[in-house]
């Protein structure tokens, strides 16, 4: 088993894609770095924290990006965002089988705040244009920095998300909420609470991610391909439609109606009907999926 969590961006690309198939665009040798970090005496990286390029998945040509959590938590600055946007725009021209995004990010890179915020919104719009062109976008979330902030929104714009139970997907990080509203609101040091709230299992149960896998690059690889195939099998659902978004509106409204009064994810799991909710965090991914597949919410 090859841990996805512990791997770096390029190791993940090697493990998830067909061996030797990755061809990088704007590789580190070109030394394209953030124009802003130097002014703040912050370190730069020759890939600005994201590797992008073309590759193959089970023989199918795809475009792919992998954020490097080891560099500023995978945060999005001007160059980082432009690489992602450029990749998505390139997909419109090349029409690959799918676009695969290996996301690990704290969101907007606060060191280049305004440029990062605009960049994330450009990524979001570019992603939705790719879907509108009938090309599926699949997101993988399983890095130790999770997928937060603007990238947490970007992830939910994709056709499907694969998570590991160690992966986290949310908007504001627990530290941000604790700073704004106090430790009683969200104790960022309570790791169990953080995982219950933002972790892969909870997202899977609520229907925010489509597949939950073990922390294993081969499992992510397999799941990504299955979801791409599913998208192509129901090709009409790749782009946005009024009917699908009205259904999503109802789905999200039902969630607020059903679980809006819950104070802890455990309350939600019990309300869904999971008999032994307290023990769910202890289950391995496969056993968890088997125990919950019939009860979990899905759009």
């Amino acid at each position: 088993m090859n841990s996805y969590l512990e791997a770096h961006a390029r190791e993940r690309l090697d493990a998830v894609l067909d061996p030797g198939s990755f061809r990088e665009f704007l590789p580190p040798s070109l030394r394209i770095v953030s124009p802003h970090l130097g002014q703040l005496d912050a370190p730069v990286s020759f890939d600005d924290g994201v590797a992008i390029g073309a590759g193959k998945l089970f023989g199918e040509p795809i475009l792919v990006a992998a954020q490097e959590g080891g560099f500023m938590g995978g945060a999005v600055g001007e160059v980082h965002g432009a690489k992602l946007t450029g990749l998505l725009q390139r997909a419109l021209r090349e029409r690959p089988y799918a676009v695969l995004l290996l996301l690990e990010s704290g969101g907007v890179r606060l060191h280049e705040a305004n440029a990062g915020l605009i960049a994330v919104s450009e990524v979001m719009r570019a992603l939705l244009e790719v879907r509108a062109a009938g090309i599926p976008v699949i997101v993988l979330v399983g890095g130790s920095n999770g997928c937060f902030g603007g990238m947490g929104i970007v992830a939910c714009c994709a056709n499907a998300i694969v998570m590991s139970e160690e992966g986290r997907l949310a908007m504001s990080g627990p530290e941000v909420i604790e700073t704004a509203n106090g430790v009683e609101e969200f104790d960022a040091r309570d790791r169990a609470l953080v995982w219950r709230t933002t972790g892969g299992k909870h997202r899977y149960l609520l229907g925010d991610c489509q597949m939950l896998v073990a922390d294993d690059s081969a499992a992510f690889r397999q799941a990504a391909f299955e979801l791409m195939q599913e998208c192509h099998a129901a090709a009409a659902t790749i782009s946005l439609t009024l009917e699908a978004l009205e259904a999503e509106q109802q789905f999200l409204q039902d969630r607020v109606d059903d679980f809006g009064a819950a104070v802890d994810p455990l309350d939600i799991w019990q309300k869904i009907g999971l008999a032994d909710a307290a023990n769910l965090p202890m289950l391995e991914a496969d056993a968890f999926v088997a125990a919950t597949a019939q009860l979990r919410r899905r759009p």
Binding site: G81, A82, N114, L117, S121, A155, M171, E175, V176
Partner: protein
């Protein structure tokens, strides 16, 4: 500016906008035509409920009034910073709102946004920044995050951040910096109704923000880097030509 005086200036030919818990919805007359108006007020924190209300209003326009223009009025302190919203998956709600805006655009609705008071991060990304064009009033506040939270995340002392925020355009809040970076299209002053009518006439579904940021000298890299990925030829020349 409060939304009532704003609406009076923007829509001198009348409107039906109502407020409900910081959520604004209604219609208005612009240039002899009816537009849908959706927005927030009172520096609303965007939680799951208000995101859903906004999304529902966009979907209603798409279903019932094909191609009717949509005007978004932005006043938000950002996403609601609560454990409950994270537990319910607020990012899904934000993304849903963004997707509804993208659908409206693809169905031929022109979308123009105006930041009339505050616009912060998550609340802004899925509202004003999803419009075809976004504008701001001169006194508007636009930024990513409050400085104390920023200090905690970046581990840069608050005093240093406060100092930087005064001078560094990438870092400093405010419409002028966002204009320079291409994040907004113009700062409105004077006859708001006239400028809105013009904006709705000129709105384009193409995202031209990185090109604008380059042209205005606020973002030197966004456009050439994306272009280099797209073309993947003449990379060095392309980036060099566009260097600041």
């Amino acid at each position: 500016m409060d939304w009532i005086s704003l609406a009076a200036q923007l829509f001198p030919h009348g409107h039906t906008i109502v407020e409900q818990d910081n959520f604004l919805t209604g219609t208005a007359q612009v240039d002899g035509a009816t537009v849908s108006v959706i927005g927030s007020c009172g520096h609303a924190p965007i939680g799951v409920e208000i995101a859903l209300l906004q999304a529902q209003a966009v979907l209603a326009a798409v279903r019932n009034f094909p191609q009717r223009p949509i005007v978004i009025l932005v006043d938000t302190q950002g996403q609601r910073l609560r454990h409950r919203d994270e537990m319910l998956g607020i990012n899904s709600y934000m993304a849903h709102l963004g997707k509804c805006m993208a659908l409206a655009r693809s169905q031929g609705h022109k979308i123009v946004a105006l930041v009339y008071d505050q616009a912060l991060s998550g609340g802004f990304i899925t509202s004003g920044m999803m419009a075809d064009a976004c504008f701001a009033l001169p006194q508007a506040t636009i930024r990513v995050m409050g400085l104390p939270a920023m200090a905690r995340i970046t581990k840069v002392p608050l005093e240093r951040l406060t100092e930087l925020a005064k001078s560094n355009p990438v870092f400093a809040p405010g419409p002028v910096n966002y204009l320079q970076m291409g994040g907004i299209d113009a700062i409105w002053d004077g006859d708001l109704a006239l400028q809105l009518a013009e904006a709705l006439r000129d709105a384009s579904p193409q995202d031209q923000r990185s090109a604008a940021g380059l042209q205005r000298g606020g973002r030197s890299q966004a456009f050439p880097v994306a272009q280099a990925v797209l073309d993947h030829v003449n990379l060095h020349a392309n980036l060099r030509d566009n260097a600041p």
